[in-house]
């Protein structure tokens, strides 16, 4: 396979040739390079057209002397690609020599390394780029096959091998951590490896496939700067090796998670059935995985709404809970995750309120992944108390599902008996009656059912209803008057209020998939 010759600019973009910097003629780097010819500044032997003419050694004062000008002219006449000369720390050309190089369209490269080594690298990269490609792939293979590495570790290792920034993008293409910015032309929806060149700067992105077909878990991306096409292809291969390593890490991690989950699930069912209170073996196992059974427990349950692969999100849920300062054990349970906090003393009202506020923020954090309802139980003492609190949290979560107006967050205390009644009342017999009761409001403008629900939930406060619905209090008053007229009820009558409240709750619950 014969590729097009790389341009000088692309060659200089390769890390192994980075010791050469253009001293003059920066505008003329986009020319193909066919090889390297060693020259002596004093002799006039021919240089092959398209080659970089490289002086391995130059006499003192060469960079400011006339000889350099004469050499530039000669190389120009022989259509060389560039002149490369070794330079010290302050290798500066005369202004006029730079002008001459520009005028003759002959770039001058200053080598800040051993010239012959650079020449060797350049010749290898021009004539046999596959050798370099194989070498980086070999190094990547060695680095990646030692032990499972997290995506960030893989990116760091590849970055060291490629000498270019390598980063991890989330499935939608946003970078995580300090990584190269994704190119605007990078398309995260096309789940294939992409080599994107923008303004002469090349970015390579390779997807890490997810467990389901066509899904992408992560992207590995490398920002190469100016790079020859064959190098971009080599980097793509290296990143694909990296993607394999990430998949391996994910598989290992999943196995660990599954094992943990099974262990926790077993313990958890013991806990729910109250079997943990007795016997030492289960208690030992519980403390092994960091569960505290003594002290005061407040349990909560996070129920995921819709189809959600729980195991995939367990890490994120734990992280969100930890990020909000809740010190809790978390375990998968049924439709979501249950967790509990443990304190030595009985928690007070303030602690309760803080926990609720923190859980509300947890829900917001998780909103990008899935929607959820959260229920919170009361505080109880000891393993038996934990069992009870977990049961309450479960009930509260079920109720919270049907209460979007309360942010799908419910504390068993705030629900009260009447609402538990509602839960129990959502039966096939009561539901049609409720629907019939509220039917006159359905076809009316102004979202009267929601207004009524919010009004009753707010304990009859017009101001709070207005705040919840985001409308003016006069609007609320006007709507309430219309509701009383349409239903021929009196909202001041406690019986009417109870009946309507139950009806609202049951229909609301059914509508929002309770």
């Amino acid at each position: 396979m014969r590729r097009g010759a790389p341009t000088l600019r692309e060659l200089l973009g390769h890390p192994r040739l980075a010791a050469a910097v253009p001293l003059a003629g920066e505008d003329d780097l986009d020319r193909p390079v066919t090889g390297v010819t060693l020259i002596d500044p004093a002799d006039t032997s021919p240089v092959q057209a398209g080659d970089i003419a490289l002086c391995p050694a130059v006499p003192p004062g060469f960079l400011s002397g006339w000889r350099l000008d004469a050499t530039l002219r000669r190389l120009h006449d022989q259509r060389a690609a560039a002149l490369a000369v070794p330079v010290g720390e302050n290798g500066a050309l005369l202004d006029s020599t730079r002008q001459l190089a520009r005028h003759l369209h002959l770039p001058v490269l200053g080598l800040r390394t051993a010239p012959l080594r650079w020449a060797g690298e350049a010749i290898a990269l021009v004539h046999a780029p596959e050798v370099d490609a194989a070498e980086v792939l070999r190094r990547a293979h060695r680095a990646l096959t030692r032990e499972p590495m997290s995506p960030q570790d893989v990116a760091r290792a590849l970055s060291g091998i490629l000498d270019r920034p390598v980063g991890v993008f989330s499935p939608d293409g946003t970078p995580t951590g300090v990584t190269p910015e994704p190119s605007p032309r990078f398309n995260p929806r096309a789940t294939v490896a992409q080599i994107v060149t923008e303004h002469g700067r090349t970015t390579v992105a390779v997807p890490v496939p997810g467990t389901t077909v066509g899904a992408v878990d992560l992207w590995l991306a490398a920002a190469l700067g100016q790079a020859p096409a064959y190098w971009a292809a080599a980097v793509r291969d290296v990143l694909q090796a990296g993607a394999l390593a990430v998949q391996r890490w994910q598989a290992v991690r999943r196995v660990v998670l599954e094992r943990d989950a099974r262990l926790r699930a077993g313990l958890f069912s013991d806990l729910l059935e109250g079997r943990l209170g007795t016997g030492d073996v289960p208690r030992e196992r519980a403390s092994e995985i960091g569960w505290r059974l003594d002290g005061w427990h407040v349990a909560f349950h996070i129920a995921a709404l819709g189809q959600v692969d729980l195991l995939r999100h367990t890490d994120a849920v734990s992280a969100a809970i930890a990020a909000e300062g809740i010190d809790a054990a978390v375990v998968e349970r049924g439709d979501g995750w249950s967790g509990w906090t443990t304190t030595r003393d009985e928690p007070d009202q303030d602690a309760d309120r803080e926990l609720l506020a923190a859980l509300r923020r947890v829900r917001r954090r998780l909103a990008t992944r899935f929607d959820c309802a959260i229920g919170v139980g009361r505080a109880y003492l000891g393993p038996a108390g934990l069992t009870r609190s977990l049961a309450e949290a479960w009930d509260a979560a079920r109720l919270a599902r049907g209460r979007p107006q309360a942010g799908r967050l419910a504390h068993i205390d705030r629900l009260g008996l009447a609402q538990l009644l509602v839960a129990w009342a959502s039966t096939e017999t009561f539901a049609p009656t409720a629907a019939r009761l509220l039917k006159p409001l359905e076809s009316q403008p102004g979202d009267l059912i929601a207004t009524l629900t919010a009004y009753l939930d707010a304990g009859g406060s017009v101001a709070e209803t207005a705040a919840v619905l985001g409308v003016h209090r006069n609007t609320v008053t006007a709507r309430l008057r219309r509701i009383e007229e349409l239903l021929t009820v009196d909202l001041a009558n406690p019986d009417d209020r109870l009946a309507l409240h139950l009806a609202c709750r049951v229909t609301q619950g059914r509508q929002s998939g309770g």
Partner: protein, 354 residues
């Protein structure tokens, strides 16, 4: 009827020898004033070689730093002792004087010496232009000795060398100069008039006067190309000095480079200098070199700009004048070619020019 050089010729002479100086040879205006004063209305005979009756001609001039010469002018009587020293030692009677160097101040001072000694000047010299060293004389190039050689001044200090090669003589003279205050009058071994064709460069002063007369016509609106054609020169570049580099290290004195960018173009002409302008490269390609003569002239006034006074920003025209034919002889060219100045390049001969 031999030609006599009088006061009104001094201007042309000064202009001409300045052009032959190729950017070196010293400032001729001071020397010109000195000559006018020395002539004091009188004239000095300038004889062509065929007008010579015969006899021996003594090459004279000064050696040393031309800047020191401007600071300490001749007091009068410098050349009497040195001419006497070489004629006594060789046992000849001088029939006339000739200049060791037609380019620069030496092209003028020979007339001062001739006036002082009451001798005619022969239209010949040993360089045909300005050159920095005594061993770069036609006599030395022809393989003839320069000694006996005398340097001295008006206070009676005198150094006579004999039996030394030109290179050795140059080295000794150079090292002795500080004892003479930077410069000294010099007289070389007298040359028989009949051999001047072989060991000297005849006609240099006729050339200088001709160049000077043409150059005197330079005025602000003059077309540089027409002026160059009249001078028998070609224009290498018309433009602005963009960079002047003076190399403080290395061999030689006054080493440096002048880079001129052509007006309305991108061509860059680089001049390499060491007291004189020695080599011209246009866009890196050698286009002219010593022994040919390179002149940098102020574009508006035509005044020659010497190597030590050229500055960035000046609007100039660079002229290329053919060098003395003597130096293009194969046996002679090596002494004054670029390599004699440490520039590792073949001289750019007439056949190399486009």
């Amino acid at each position: 009827m031999p030609y006599h050089l009088g006061e009104r010729d001094v201007d042309h002479l000064a202009r001409g020898v300045t052009l032959l100086g190729s950017g070196g040879g010293g400032q001729t205006d001071t020397a010109g004033r000195l000559l006018r004063r020395t002539l004091a209305g009188d004239r000095v005979a300038l004889l062509r070689r065929d007008e010579l009756p015969g006899g021996d001609i003594v090459p004279v001039g000064i050696v040393g730093a031309v800047s020191a010469f401007t600071e300490r002018l001749p007091a009068g009587g410098e050349w009497g002792p040195v001419v006497a020293a070489v004629t006594e030692r060789t046992g000849v009677r001088p029939a006339g004087l000739m200049s060791i160097e037609a380019g620069g101040v030496n092209g003028i001072l020979v007339f001062v010496a001739a006036r002082e000694l009451g001798l005619p000047v022969i239209d010949a010299d040993l360089m045909g232009r300005a050159l920095p060293r005594l061993d770069q004389t036609s006599t030395a190039a022809a393989g003839e000795p320069l000694t006996p050689l005398a340097i001295g001044d008006a206070t009676g200090r005198l150094l006579i060398l004999d039996g030394l090669s030109p290179t050795a003589a140059e080295r000794i003279v150079r090292s002795a100069l500080s004892e003479f205050g930077g410069w000294a009058a010099v007289a070389l071994r007298p040359l028989p008039a009949g051999r001047l064709d072989r060991v000297a460069i005849p006609g240099s002063f006729a050339r200088a006067l001709r160049l000077g007369a043409c150059h005197a016509a330079w005025h602000r609106a003059a077309d540089p190309y027409a002026m160059a054609a009249a001078l028998g020169a070609r224009v290498l570049v018309l433009g602005r000095v963009v960079e002047v580099v003076r190399h403080r290290t290395g061999t030689g004195f006054g080493r440096g480079s002048v880079i001129i960018r052509a007006t309305g173009g991108r061509t860059l002409v680089r001049l390499e200098m060491e007291n004189e302008y020695l080599l011209a490269l246009a866009d890196g390609r050698p286009v002219a070199s010593t022994p040919d003569i390179l002149c940098v002239l102020d574009r508006a006034t035509g005044v020659a700009i010497s190597c030590d006074s050229v500055r960035g920003g000046a609007e100039v025209v660079v002229l290329h004048l053919p060098g003395p034919a003597f130096w293009w002889r194969p046996e002679a060219v090596g002494a004054v070619a670029p390599r004699a100045f440490g520039l590792d390049i073949d001289p750019v001969g007439p056949e190399d020019r486009r």
